[in-house]
Symmetry: D2
Subunit: 510 residues, 4 copies
């Protein structure tokens, strides 16, 4: 059953989570104005699965069940799946700023891989449990929150060394029928309007910290869970041309002795596999982030072009204005290209799914993380300075100033002053308001900080192949690849035709 946005919103009434915003308890998540933009954003992923133009993007056939599911809940099987997911994320995010639900996808794909690996290493049955859960989630068309980033406390200490163990979520008690978890996840996207949380570890752990290596699913209103959230977007702000409609809540989620039955536990102490789970999730997630921020780029490009026109300027004639627009495009499409390449050169996982190539995924995420600031700069460049003095919407209906302002704040004759105001406020919303700052910061640190990406790039890059190349050239002046190329073709689509050899054969063959 694929829900619509409206059905999704109604479905939230079946839960009664304990949510606080700005110090007040939220009565009804589905009706809370401060959360409406976030619910709208997630809703796009539901509605677009029903519209003809986007149905192909937002739906997929789950191989293990043969059922059509929302792509945000689908396990990828081919390069084409990854390409389609990438475009799907870009599409829902260019409408909503950030549709959030791709995190469900990223976590499900990561856990799919890690439960199979853990079972293989330890003889456990996590994967079977997980498959049952996956199919249920797909059937019910749920949205899952990713509760991964621990509060961390003193960053120079490992979890077990912290004065207060609760700064990391951990298994407090193991019972015959399940486990009791405790601790705090500090940054959970869309926390209040999820159906369930997927609790995941955010790092590798040492054996003595085995209790911190825990992954499980819990309903949002499980006993013991408290959510302290920020409002989503800029609800109720008249000047917020975009983020009064679409936005994102982030919340702190406190687990105060929450019981989780065995069938919802997908890792419980396997410390080495915790690292793999984190990494495989992160790879899927960074790949998705690329699509998300490319959608943000689309918004800036469109709004920038409109502002230029309203100001009476023309990129074809004004080279420095065109330059700024080309910067915006170049940044956006170059990191998006990394997402495309990560899809094409994906890695087969023994569990039967594919994972985006980690080098390209991390390169793309690193670029977007560090270039988001240049995107804002380029958007500001083309917008001109008007925004800093732009009167607020309350001024629009002030009879004492309206006529004067209308007469002078227009730009090009055929663009009415109101339109120029709207475009200005739209750009202000995306690049000057606190929502703009939020986009920057979440781009930089979301899915791991730049240093994490750099380490992953270095860890995964087949440097030895290049050393072999140069060694041969120095020693013999020629290069013999031997068996390096010609292994492990990827899968471009369900028909099984081959895409080119993996770019990084040494690693792909591992």
């Amino acid at each position: 059953m694929l829900m619509t946005a409206e059905e999704y919103r109604e479905s939230l009434r079946a839960y009664d989570p304990r949510v606080f915003i700005n110090g007040k308890r939220v009565e009804s998540v589905a009706d809370e104005p401060l959360l409406r933009p976030g619910i709208n954003g997630v809703g796009v992923t539901y509605d677009f699965a029903h519209q003809p133009a986007t149905e192909r993007l937002l739906t997929a056939t789950q191989g293990s069940s043969g059922k059509v599911v929302n792509r945000m809940l689908h396990i990828n099987e081919t390069s084409q799946d990854l390409l389609t997911k990438l475009e799907a994320v870009r599409t829902v995010c260019k409408v909503s700023g950030c549709a959030q639900r791709y995190l469900s996808h990223d976590a499900l794909n990561g856990i799919f891989q890690s439960t199979a690996l853990t079972d293989a290493n330890h003889g456990t049955d996590y994967h079977q449990r997980f498959m049952a859960y996956l199919h249920e989630v797909q059937d019910r068309d749920l949205t899952l929150g990713v509760a991964m980033t621990d509060a961390k406390g003193d960053r120079s200490l490992r979890p077990g060394q912290q004065e207060n163990r609760d700064v990391y979520v951990h298994i407090k008690e193991r019972r015959p029928d399940g486990i009791v978890i405790r601790g705090t996840k500090a940054i959970v996207t869309g926390a209040p309007y999820m159906h369930e949380f997927l609790v995941m570890p955010c790092r590798t752990h040492l054996p003595e910290d085995a209790d911190f290596a825990v992954c499980c699913a819990v309903p949002i209103d499980a006993e013991g869970i408290t959510i302290v959230s920020k409002p989503a977007g800029r609800p109720n702000e008249a000047a917020a041309k975009f983020s009064a409609t679409y936005g994102q809540a982030t919340g702190v989620v406190i687990f105060d002795d929450v019981f989780v039955p065995h069938e919802r536990v997908f890792q419980a102490g396997e410390v080495e596999e915790a690292g793999f789970m984190t990494t495989s999730y992160a790879t899927h997630h960074r790949h998705s982030c690329i699509g998300a921020r490319a959608g943000f780029g689309d918004l800036l490009i469109g709004a920038g072009a409109m502002m230029i026109k309203a100001n009476g300027l023309d990129p074809d004639r004004h080279g420095h204005i065109r330059d700024a627009m080309v910067d915006l495009i170049t940044i956006t499409e170059s990191f998006y290209a990394c997402g495309v390449a990560a899809s094409v050169y994906c890695r087969d996982d023994p569990a039967g799914s594919v994972m985006p190539d980690p080098v390209f995924s991390n390169v793309g995420k690193l670029l977007l993380a560090t270039k988001i600031y240049d995107m804002h700069k380029a958007a500001h460049y083309v917008s001109g300075g008007l925004i800093v003095a732009l009167p607020g919407p309350d001024e629009d209906h002030n009879p004492e100033t309206r006529a004067s302002l209308e007469a002078v704040l227009g730009g090009r004759g055929d663009v009415p002053m109101e339109r120029r105001m709207e475009i200005s406020r739209f750009l202000e919303d995306l690049t000057v308001s606190h929502q703009a700052g939020w986009y920057s910061l979440i781009s930089l640190h979301g899915g791991g900080s730049p240093e994490a990406m750099k380490r992953e790039i270095w860890r995964n890059y087949p440097v030895d192949d290049n050393v072999d190349l140069v060694s041969q050239l120095i020693d013999r002046g020629v290069y013999d690849m031997g068996q390096k190329v010609s292994k492990q073709p990827g899968r471009c689509c369900a028909k099984g035709c081959e895409v080119p050899e993996p770019l990084l054969p040494g690693k792909a063959a591992e």
Copy 2:
């Protein structure tokens, strides 16, 4: 008489300007909470003139009168004046974010030069009028708003071509005793809490647009003036750790047939000199902007270092964290250095004052304009991601969550959770809130957009000297400077000792 901040605030009661904010008329500027952070910011320039540690920076002796005046109203006579002004601006801005009053200084210095030039070219008596005005302003220790940036309408058309002439302020009528001006200035810093406005042209004009080449002084409450302003900073927002105290209002100022008596008119139709006035003002202003944004850098550096410590990290051990801090420092000090060099290699003006070197001033402003985004990036880098989920201050006193949050949102043991929250909110205020976006945009476009700086750099750079150098080297293999070095020493201080030859001798001699 040098006022204190409190005296400045009280002095505003003598005026009754017509000010609207968010659609409502402001009853009393001095008492308006929405303007308080702006008044506080300007106030720093008054109080620091009285405090021992800063008195040297914020006061100066006006050569033409021999009186001690606030440095924000002083005409510079030496390199040392410029160096001291630069440090003074940095100092008041690192306390207030943006103390705003340096615009008074920039305009007074620009008009000082241009009135002398206009008189020399046209036999007018503007300079004499201006000197009388200058001394009065200094004696009364006023703060003057710069009403320069016209609304501009269709940017592809010149003023006289606009459908509505009011998109540029212009002389509507010339009377025996003065002029009547009309039109709109779109971006006026601190508009509501100034004593007077200096109306200035924002570009060179063609002869047929002579009525747009107008400069004059008018009290803020002159008949016919309406100010539509934004609030200053983030007044009344509990989360605004900094900008609830200090901020800046920007306003649209509408001149609806405002009469100005002759003794307050400093340009009235001299179109060629309009360009010089704009440029000389811009050079002083860009030099001041360098000091202002260096002060902003100081705030980010300090807050970043505190956040790193609170998170339990150490720049000496974590190279990537140190790198980000060094980035912040490098950006800040490299554009500040341009301000220093512009001071040392200042140009003598025939009027008797000095102007900062235009190449260094424009290079410095260009750097800060385009690097402000990297400053935010570096600050975000060291802050970590906590800010995106940080509960607002209303949560601080929620008994249902307070204990839990306090237990887990701390970082290093010896930094209390409250302190970590405060630092986080301080950084959020400066780098994520709409105030942060405002700082970016005003840095990029304030004092002219990057393209304007690039043109000024190119226009002023002594390229021919370098062509001569290379030509000689190609032709003869050696270089003979001839008379190039050894002219026009600058003046480092009142004692008249020389600083080195001007860096750019070919131009300096012009």
Copy 3:
């Protein structure tokens, strides 16, 4: 018949071109030591078509003939063709620095498209002539030089305005059996050791300049052709660890009334299509350049890693060294990713071939053009400063210094001093020698200068789609894509399965 490198070299003896290097006539191109590195470079494309590991990359089946041909001469029919070509170019260039022959490919693909278009517009029969020529070239396995960049004279004047018309190659005379061309092409890659030249226009022309819109094929030794070439690489230099073996000659080619029979003429005055020919060639070429420079990146990455080890450093422990290596990787793989994306989202040409997506191709080329300098910087960063004082190879056998140098110029104990010297010289060759400067300059300007790419990006980007997106969001708060997605699927491979919708549907449908 697919030749080997040795057969290619021998085949050059069938030609007797008039070639000058350093003022001397070259007797035999095949035997000339100054050209040997260039011939070696091209040779890699021949040998790799025979080796098992690379055969798949360097061969392809030509659709129009059903024959197996060298991929450097193949007309692309699918996304997979483009992906394979991209990897093929990277592979031959990471061995040879620059294998040069991909230019043959780029020109053949461009002319394939433009002759079909010209015929469609003008009822000519160029395409038929071209197909006959193509099949002959493929059968004989030739290498073709691209004679495109005219000398240009005064860049502010169009061809017909130049004092000397010969600064652009043009049709001097039209005869019943063919045309006579005249003029100079200023930069022709690998000129002396090509089999034939493809003369092509380098820009759109006005109707009055119709004689400059000329495309044809001529043997390298056609009467009237003179080639003034630079040596290829650094032949005979003992210190040139890489470019004594592999390099590239560039030459000025003078056409002094050269007769071309009709069957070798592919454009002769169709000025509008001249622009299309130039652009489609440029798009293929920029796509190939991406692969070429990625191969250069592979060399730097490999040599950098070896140098780090020889110096006793370890990227895992020294973060700033790892950072520089990750920079190298990030730059290389991010522009390579643009090549991948351009392949996946290729455009169908009515002629039956595919062209890489122009936005991604131009973005990738723009990145490599401007980042090549950062690649050198990163390589220098990890190499350390030794290279500046490194004694030359003549010192290696000096008995008076050898023992001392050997004792002290080693690095890590297990890396012999000779090895460290070799690696240093390899890096010096690639990043410090004049060959290094050549790589920078050719990367920046080859295939068009950055400004050309920026204009192409702007011209091809579907900005209107984004304007439509933002307009809808402003007007209605939601977005309806209508028919935008779901058109024109690309072709991933011969089996005809679909790849995702084109990224830029508005344009792709044109």
Copy 4:
């Protein structure tokens, strides 16, 4: 006695150093063609002390003797000294590319400070010895080579841990009348044509490595010294329009048991002061490097402007060309500005001299080190691609091609083809030849690698002042500087007038 360039060259005949270049012993340094460009470069510092236009820059009055000396041998006493030195270095380097002799200055100033400190800490008499040596050097107007960078061996090991102690120069034996030193310095600028070497430590050492903390002066032909040098510039290369005349040799210098009498020893085991000596030298040197590379910028700016004109382009009309020129200027002047600021805010040393501010000096050097690549890029951008195919000078007189090339390789009508060729070769020499690569590499690593600068910036920056600022603002909303400003004014000139307070007062007061 201030020598001329010719007298300097002749003075080298008094020495008979053991020099090898390319495996051959140099008979006479003064007559060796391979060293001529280097001797020419140093010579500029001699000749310019005699020419009226530059005399002020290249001479100074030594305070301790009252004598007029070459500024390259002068101990700085005021801000103005530093400003003049900076301009002097820029001036001699814009003529010579790199005049090299400023290293003498940097070392003398560093040793001046460190000998005083060592004496104060240990009761030694190094400073007195050094002053006698300084005055002798000044009287004889010598040029001193800096032998500092050790061969280093395995970079992960300290000197005493190396398998071969000779990879660092050290005291092998202490005799009653002096010391015997042994080991290898790997990179010594201008080694063959110096009068003497100043041997200096390149790092801090541990007490067990005390023998490595050695500083002394030795004549270039002292028994036991062998120099293995590279040629200076590009001697005898006809295409080298600049570096056939001016260049720089770098050499490995082997000390094979060299005796040094006590009066020439300035440090012999004081390990802590070794670090100070290295740092103070480095600060002076980095400050000088700023001037040197600004001179290189002047050459690129001049040559770029000439090339643009020759190509028929105009920066006023072609915005993207102007942009590249403004980039060149902005880079050059922004790091130069750091040198100016370092001079103005210099630190008083207890020895009686001044040292440039270390933060500004290191920021400036860091910028030039990392931006030199962008300078090459900008120069390439404006030069166009012609250089890659430019025939060599041997072609100029080939009667078979000359007329044709002359006809087509011209650009703008009024710039003869020969002139365009010369300018192209000049730019090729500076930005494409191995000399260009050398400039990049030496800029990046000379005077310490970027990581060293970053650490110095962090170590010297008064972060605590900013922490205090933000702490006060958070705690009280206001800031009280207390006594921070008002200490330690610098000295702008001999008259003793004050320059503004130090920028970084907390540190300056230390």
